[in-house]
Symmetry: C2
Subunit: 166 residues, 2 copies
DNA sequence: GCGCGTTCGCAATATTCTTGCGCTTGGGGC
DNA sequence: GCCCCAAGCGCAAGAATATTGCGAACGCGC
């Protein structure tokens, strides 16, 4: 199913909606060079086929008082599937954990966390994360600044043709 | 300016728009319990004041043929501001690099990358990244799977009151 | 050469967005 | 305690947008 067939217009639509997810359909149609109705139909199709997973407002964590971002490298004691899932589930319940990726190599998980300040992060760290069962070791790195953030710099859909599909 | 005053309704708006950025204003107003016009005015204010940085379609990289995600830890030779900026600028020019965060500690940068397959990632790695000036060492970790992704699991705006502001 | 399916654009209707306006509510100052 | 002011709400109307149905053009295979 994935990577069926996207023409140039579909790719432009994805790029535009990635840059501005609230763009009006009329404006979108104008930019990709077709009229509104077929444009809307294409968008619906892209949504149904899973190319577009959803739309989200990009809320600034700092404005809400989340001033620190931290990457956390976690090693577990056991890497059995049950334990891996258990850890993921635990992450799902921690509001400070915004992303949770399972990795290969020596580190089992990398987490991206946010917190109002260092103190509350450290309290989370010692009170929750390192205290959780099966956690062997934890290494943290404060984010000083970020040059490229996810939503602001959408990955280049127009280059996606380079990614050949079966 | 940050963290001025958000009431309960503002927080609900942020939470709803984070979950579904294309929600109609009428629907949004219904959910937060006010009528459409004041709801739209609140949204506009939140945008102007920077609480909402933008809206973005969440495009599935896999559907587009980007099957591998990789975290890359980068150390530089020199950490002078000029060199740091130069590296950030270089990252900005690499389409495979979707995020670039400067860290404290031994590692200078962590990058989140996507690629169509391992081969093209490794070609990027050896041909571009490690070949770039001032790059001392590079360590990569493949993402096996992710339990919590950024847009799917918005951080909990309703808990944001815990983040006290000046 | 001729259907056949796909996708387009046009037109019409339904829904939403957007602005102006009057009203209620809550909080000082006197 | 009373008045006044500011902030925020809802209502209503006009403008813009979304959405559906339909006929026409294009490309493809037979």
């Amino acid at each position: 199913m994935p990577g069926a067939k996207l023409d140039e217009i579909d790719r432009m639509i994805l790029a535009e909606l990635q840059a501005d997810g609230r763009m009006t359909n009329v404006e979108l149609a104008r930019r990709v060079g077709i009229s509104a109705p077929p444009c809307l139909r294409r968008v619906r199709t892209l949504e149904e086929q899973g190319y577009i997973r959803g739309y989200h407002a990009d809320v600034d964590p700092r404005e809400l008082g989340f001033d620190v971002s931290v990457f956390v490298m976690v090693r577990l004691v056991s890497q059995s599937e049950a334990e891996l899932s258990a850890f993921e589930a635990r992450c799902g319940g921690w509001p400070l954990v915004r992303e949770c990726h399972m990795l290969n190599g020596e580190v089992d998980f990398i987490l991206k966390c946010v917190a109002p300040d260092l103190r509350s992060f450290q309290s989370f760290l010692t009170g929750e994360l390192t205290a959780a069962p099966n956690v062997a070791s934890v290494k943290t790195s404060l984010v000083i600044r970020n040059a490229k953030a996810e939503p602001g710099v959408p990955f280049d859909v127009l280059e996606a043709r380079l990614a050949r599909k079966a």
